[in-house]
Amino acid sequence: MSPLRLAWLNRTRHKAATILTIASLALMVAFAGILLRTWRVAESRFSTLANSGDAILGAKADPVDMTLSALNLEGPYPRFIPLRFGVLLNKNWLDTGFSAHVIPILFCGKHEGRRVIGTTHDIFTQPEPSPGFALQSGVWPGIDKGIVLGAETARREKLHVGDRIPVTPWTSDSLDVPRAPTLFRVAGILKPMHNAWDGALFTNIVQAEALIGRYSKDWNGDWSRLVAHYFILNVPAGGVERVRATVDARTVVQVASLVDTRAALARMTATGRSLGAVVALLVLCLTAIAVAALILGRYEALTRHFSILEAVGYPRSALLAVLAWEGLLLGLGAVLGGAVCDATLFPLARRLLGGALPGPEIVSSTVWTSWPVWAATVPAVLAASLLSSLLVFKGRAAERLRGLG
């Protein structure tokens, strides 16, 4: 009888123990996989963050949240700031010889879960080093209910210029009012930018304000309908500090320097990566310990079985092979079960983490991302099986000598 056959019989004839072990291992594998995927999704911000501007102006909030909201389309609905703020700011600077490029951002709706951004044609004329916002086909819309699609949105939904799509007004989530979708005509499709904005839709800010005007509870009468959520600023060297000095202390807005924010994000991600690696390592150790516990838990039976097999003539290598196959079977079962749990539980974990991670429409994550965990699980389980076998062999020798006077 081959070692594989023996290992298979050993496992399948102890169904309850095998199922319990595989289930516990699978949960650990799933947990480690979910950690890995969470970290990967968090880290993906660096590749999905829209490469635009030197600073973000928005209602007072955490600078990282402001940046992720404006450039990675994450988080809850932001607070309004007056649109004329950007205009006035620009005017004042121009008076002092300081030139800035200001782009308003106003989230106004959603189409199939993707955000619709109201902005101005200025977004096409950003100075270096923030180019890339360009039309592949069509035109920038006026006030004729036209909309421009990010390249990914057009690709995923197979949309073309001239198609009509529904856009549901999106305002503060605290407003519990049914919102009827409005049909927009696809006026243009953007060239791919390889960032989160590829998955968004863009329209004229005038249309954006009209779309949400009826529904916005936070609408501030003093600002009329002229509001925005953010301004993306492109400024000359030293400009971010000048803007900060101008607005931070004296107005309702604040400035987030993109250089500083990216550095803060990098620190946070690195910390998360280290923590994730430690936890994943712990989980793998637990996996190995669980297997060792299973094998040593049937230590008495195993020593007797191995004594019988050795007496029959199975060499030590064959006995090791039996344990190795058992470990492999458990490891593969754990990986399979872990992958299923991972695929099932990760969306739930992502929902629970909410705004702490970019949404699935921005960064997708498949279960295959967890493959390093699977690749580490099998050797960990194998190693645990073989190390346990040392103890079993020791016990087997004692078993053999039993009966000595």
Partner: protein, 220 residues
């Protein structure tokens, strides 16, 4: 296959004095030998020595032309699988395997396992229980299955350790009859202190003769 021991001295790890000494012992091919003696004297260990699982401190052990003490552990295991069959007093079987699977365990690689298993099952009249798990069998049935494993393996040398001591008279008779059937034409060494089976062997040796005087402290 002849069995020949010369000047075999067996020591227990961690003890300085010899457990037993066998100056000379020869079992001709096709004959049977019963070794009887007091419990706990080392008879089981002698069987482990004869099977090559436990090496003596000194001396030689020949099975046919092969000196087992000169072989590596893996070669001894391979030799054992092909030429030696062992039956213990109890615990011969792996409980979660079926009767059929336990019998197949002993068949050397490269042999027609299915055919030999079926032949052994028929010969030992185990057809009715071949798919039962070994752990569910009575001690007598378990010993019969152990004998069937020997039958399927067709070894040249059969070693048995107290094969009947835990059985009642009827079961002991059945097992000994099965062993006699299985060992036809083969060399067999049985260690036992069961007086019921003394008359069934070609030769009988008393294990006590091999115990050094200062070690004789066990009760008969």
């Amino acid at each position: 296959m002849n069995l020949q021991l010369s000047d075999v001295e067996v020591r227990v790890p961690g003890r300085r004095d010899a457990l037993f000494l066998v100056p000379s012992l020869r079992v001709p091919a096709g004959s049977s030998l019963l070794i009887h003696g007091p419990s706990g004297a080392g008879k089981t260990t002698l069987l482990h020595v004869l099977s090559g699982q436990f090496l003596p401190a000194t001396g030689s052990l020949h099975l046919g032309e092969t000196d087992l003490t000169a072989l590596s552990a893996s070669r001894r295991a391979a030799f054992r699988r092909r030429h030696i069959g062992i039956i213990f007093q109890r615990g011969n079987l792996i409980e979660h395997l079926t009767v059929r699977e336990n019998i197949a365990l002993g068949i050397p690689p490269g042999m027609p396992a299915r055919l030999r298993t079926e032949q052994a099952i028929r010969r030992m009249d185990l057809a009715g229980m071949q798919h039962q798990r070994a752990g569910l069998l009575s001690p007598g049935e378990q010993q019969r299955v152990a004998v069937a494993r020997i039958v399927a393996a067709e070894p040249d040398l059969i070693l048995a350790d107290e094969p009947t001591s835990s059985l009642d008279q009827a079961n002991a008779e059945t097992v000994m009859e099965a062993l006699r059937e299985a060992s036809r034409g083969k060399t067999m060494v049985v260690v036992s202190h069961d007086p019921r089976i003394l008359a069934r062997f070609d030769a009988v040796e008393n294990f006590a003769q091999w115990i050094p005087e200062k070690s004789v402290k066990v009760s008969a």
